[in-house]
Amino acid sequence: MSRYVLRRLLIMVPVIFGISLVLFTILALAPGDPFEELATNPNVPPEVRMNLRAKFGLDDPLPVRYARWLTSMARGDWGFSFVSRVNVETLIMQRLPTSLFVLGTAQLLGLLIALPIGTYSALRPYSIFDQIATTLAFIGFSLPTFFTGLVFILVFSIWLDWLPFIYRADIAATGWRWWWEHARQAAMPVAVLGLFQGATLTRFVRSAVLDVIRLDYVNTARAKGLSEGVTVVKHVIRNALIPVVTLVALQLPGIFTGAVITEQIFRVPGIGSLLISSILANDTPVIMAITFVFSCLVVIFNLVADLLYGWLDPRIAYR
């Protein structure tokens, strides 16, 4: 087991290396100059600008700049935010837990919707239930999150006035009251993301269960007198989950897209909304770091998927 994890960790290194190379190439190819503002400012003499460029090594050859950027990223020195004058890593660490909380809850909600509905649909294919569920799933994943978000605000905040549409990290309350306020403000972002995920996953689960349900060992399980519930949970779902886990992992980069948008709509103080505000403020170090963090999250969750995969399918074994 530990050797398997170690091997998977070692495979992650070249991927992260590759991602960093892609990001750096984009940055290096980009036109423009981080000191452009100084260039147009008449109060700053050109020598100061030249000195700054030399200090930050902007005139060095590209491989040198890449090596320096990579080593400082690896050391955890991600530079300063141009705008808020704070270390980029502290800024991101402040925001990351909120993002992970919303994303994780939404993903959980999606699975809680998709697993029972997808399985039940597949057990009775082309029944009324299946047709309704499939149609709703189709509608669900065709609805872009930015539109559902706006519709939710319109219905639940403006018309019904049930839920707040601004997410606040600092709720002035304690105990149950704090939990209640927190649940209320997280309800809409989590629901928007979770329903979208649920719709997508329902289709996956349904087709995965349909693939499994016709196999011989399911017949065997029924023939030897296992109850329907045990057959479905222990024999069908467990095997159907194997492709579902892969698909969930492959989908992750897409989930972050939804996360950035919902954070922006509901003003959730996570790294997604930080990314947007940094872009609007031309805060390059923060933008680079957040894109890198998102990439790393994808790689880490792929690792988690691989580990789950081994647990669900002992044939894969932790070789």
Partner: protein, 311 residues
Amino acid sequence: MSVATAPAARLVRSAVPRTSLWRDATRRFRRHRLAMVGFTVLLALVAAVLVGPYVYRVPINEIDFKAKLKGPSRAHPLGTDDLGQDLLARVLYGGRISLAVGVVAMLISITIGTSIGAAAGQLGGATDHTLMRITDLFLSLPQLPLLLLIVYLFRNALTKWLGPEAGVFILVVAVIGGLRWMPVARLVRAQFLSLREREFVEAARSLGAPPLRQVIRHILPNALGPVIVAGSLDVAAAIIAESSLSFLGLGFPPDIPTWGRILYDAKDNLDFAPHWALFPGTAIFLTVLSINYIGDGLRDALDPRKVLGAK
């Protein structure tokens, strides 16, 4: 002799209806009811967007403060925005750009994906290995953040060079297409690996067809089915990607009202002008939904393993 056989041959030909892969596929596609509904809706939307601005001749940028934030009325069928600009005209015009972005980005991603998949599947060996590692790498890149990063870094230069409309269009289309080719590459590669060993390709090879001809005349046409399905779904995904960008305020500039951009402008006025957001949002939803259903129908139609009669 020829006098005797000619009518007979004609008889045979008329007795057996001619079928081809495409005719079969069309027949199967038509049997998918929802796909046909989707196809009709999409056709109507495309027609409205293409012809609409010539029939409905209200300018998209005529400012009229007396009529601002009004709901649907006879003068403005979809209402007006905060500057009193007519929303129907803006939605029709924006649809052109949204749909064009979808189609062009799809063409780019299909072209890149097919080329890379074909090269990997046909050449094999180290080329295959390298290309697939690159594909995996691109698959683990988070799309929207990267999209935002690239648009942020390159937008000014391109707009300076090509003007705001063309510059942003090319940038958005290239980046969306350039980040969505990976599934197509994998599909095409898998098709190539199995088709390469089939008898008809072997026959072409033994007749002395050069590799390029084998690929273009024999393998590619047979690998096209899944690519078409993926392509149709890519149009929807690209439309959503462009709308997301514009919705975040980082896509097209305000004077080019794509559907996402209208939503971005509308989102702060939800409480007193909900129609402003609902119409463009519904337009995006309907387009994406019908394209997804078409993709579903195409999958049924172009996948010969699937027997629809069994349903």
